[in-house]
């Protein structure tokens, strides 16, 4: 049984089990209140599932891509929750959960998952389909692009079916972790996928104040 947390878009928390599927999920599409929501989300998901941290075998973290501030709340919570209950942290690329959900609900074939990166930019990941275990096969990305670039003929994945996701389901993320683990797939790196440098400029020295 796993606790899964994703704040790459809204805030989503779930308790999942390989055999029982998604046992409880708490999600909101609100992209402004991750820090407020995360605690109640975890508590309610655990309570509804009737489990305590002791019952878990790991904590799944959606590592993004996602806009900075919100993404960090979920990763911080997942990392520290795992530390607090002494369970392993299982990092995954958030877009993979979107693709997994798509294929699990009957979708097939090539896919381009797209999410909002703010500042008039988009995050994208390209999938060739799903493997026999039902796991999405990511062949490119995650990447960052201007919206027009995804429609440009030069974009290698312009022909793929495009799925614009506004939410990432922690239930899907958790089940992806369960099935991926079962199939012996590696987890992602334990690094947040910002895909952008902090936008700061090095100071050019003091400005004049007088005339």
């Amino acid at each position: 049984m796993l606790l899964a947390i994703d704040t790459s878009a809204g805030t989503s928390v779930a308790v999942v089990d390989r055999d029982r599927g998604v046992i409880a999920e708490r999600s909101t599409a609100d992209t402004m209140r991750h820090a407020e929501i995360i605690g109640d989300g975890i508590r309610e998901a655990l309570d509804e599932a009737g489990v305590t941290p002791r019952d878990l075998s790991g904590v799944v973290a959606g590592m993004g891509p996602g806009p900075f501030t919100g993404l960090r709340v979920g990763i911080a919570a997942a990392r520290v929750f795992a530390l607090g209950c002494g369970k392993p942290l299982l990092p995954l690329v958030s877009h993979d959960a979107v693709a997994f959900g798509h294929y699990r609900s009957g979708g097939a074939g090539e896919l381009l998952v797209v999410t909002d990166a703010r500042r008039r930019e988009l995050f994208w990941s390209a999938y060739s389909g799903c493997d026999p275990a039902g796991l999405p096969v990511r062949i490119d990305g995650p990447g960052l692009a201007k919206p027009a670039a995804l429609d440009d003929a030069a974009f290698p994945h312009v022909a793929r079916k495009r799925l614009d996701a506004h939410t990432v389901s922690a239930g899907d993320l958790g089940m992806l972790a369960e099935l991926g683990h079962l199939a012996g797939r590696p987890f992602a790196a334990n690094e947040p996928l910002y895909l952008r440098s902090p936008d700061v400029t090095v100071s050019a020295g003091p400005k004049r104040v007088g005339q």
């Binding site: 820090a35 407020e36 508590r43 960090r72 919570a77 520290v80 209950c85 400029t201 100071s203 007088g210």
Partner: protein
């Protein structure tokens, strides 16, 4: 839970220090800090996004180190405390998310506390014996790169009043900006202090912000450092334009004197006005040797008892947050509900969110 001497873990991420402290009642067990200061140096000031990224990378290692230093197990913790404001929003959110998750994983209550009141709480952990426990009421002068506040503390967990604060730059920020004007590296505080050592503090009379009679009516206990910073920059420019060498030591000493003078003039005035013979200093600028020297001088002359916690408890740290959390537990305050957020402008009267 142990309400008598609770074991509290405090998390602080309001600016560029990732701090985790562990206390048992008023006994300090661990005060672990990872600072991203070096990463901000080339930008000449704290970059919020850089600070927030560093918090996310440091939070788990810092908790682990604090637990090891304290010689406890995480499972022994009675309560988690966290800074919910004021501070940099994105930075605060990392600590808030982490603290909520920790409290849930450990099944402990959580206390969301005010960073500024935490600075006052740090004094409770001062076991080096600067004169017994903190007495009330006390005036507290908190000076750092992020804040410059004058508080009247009647009771740490229930009655803190903001007497005044900076209306523009924090004092620490002014040190950073003036250091740049003088071609000194970031952070400016220690650099100015070093440069000022051979300077004459009376060489140049720089302005004391909000000290004129017309300002004192409305801003008796408020501070302003932006005019001072501009005055220093203008003075230096005029010197350079005239082709004369800039006497860095004298400028640094005179600037520092202006800051220290206005800080302590207003703090001592608050002590007098409110009949409070106690002054507590906090915040990273307490590292400034001249500030400490003038504080001792002026409080001695005015018959005010001065308290300065050790520097490791004056700069932003998790131990002060744990100390305040422990006070709230011991006073029987109910924990915070899980729905609090990061509040970058949390007023000092909100001791607990």
């Amino acid at each position: 839970m142990n309400h008598h001497e609770p074991l509290v873990l405090g998390i602080e991420t309001s600016c560029d220090e990732t701090g985790v402290g562990i206390v048992r009642g008023t006994t300090l067990l661990a005060n672990t800090i990872a600072s991203s200061m070096a990463e901000h140096a080339r930008f000449g000031g704290v970059v919020p996004e850089v600070a927030a990224r560093a918090h996310l990378e440091e939070i788990v290692p810092v908790i682990n180190q604090a637990v090891a230093t304290a010689g406890i197990r995480l499972a022994d913790v009675d309560a988690v405390a966290v800074t919910s404001g004021p501070g940099l929003a994105g930075a605060l959110m990392v600590g808030v998310g982490a603290a909520k998750a920790l409290a849930l994983a450990l099944d402990t209550p959580i206390y969301a506390v005010n960073h500024l009141v935490g600075h006052v709480g740090a004094d409770l952990l001062d076991t080096t014996g600067s004169g017994g426990p903190l007495e009330y009421p006390t005036i507290a002068l908190l000076v750092s790169g992020g804040h410059t506040s004058l508080l009247l503390v009647r009771d740490l967990v229930s009655d803190v009043e903001l007497l005044g604060e900076t209306i523009d730059d924090a004092a620490g920020e002014a040190f950073d900006k003036v250091a740049r004007v003088l071609g000194l590296p970031y952070p400016g505080g220690p650099e100015i202090d070093r440069a000022a050592a051979d300077g004459d503090p009376r060489a140049i009379r720089f302005p004391r912000g909000l000290s004129l009679p017309k300002d004192m009516a409305k801003h008796r206990y408020d501070f302003s450092f932006s005019g001072l910073k501009t005055a220093v920059a203008r003075w230096v420019e005029q010197r350079a334009d005239a082709g004369e060498p800039v006497p860095v030591a004298d400028v640094a000493a005179s600037f520092r004197e202006a800051v220290v003078d206005v800080l302590l003039t207003k703090a001592v005035a608050a002590c007098r006005d409110y009949g409070v013979p106690r002054l507590l200093l906090g915040g990273g600028v307490v590292a400034n040797a001249r500030l400490r020297a003038v504080a001792i001088e002026r409080t001695d002359a005015a018959g005010i008892a001065l308290r300065i916690p050790p520097l490791s408890l004056c700069t932003d740290n998790g131990a002060m947050i744990a100390a305040l959390g422990a006070q709230l537990v011991m006073a029987g305050h109910a924990p915070s509900t899980l729905s609090f957020g990061a509040d970058s402008t949390l007023p000092v009267t909100d001791i607990q969110a």
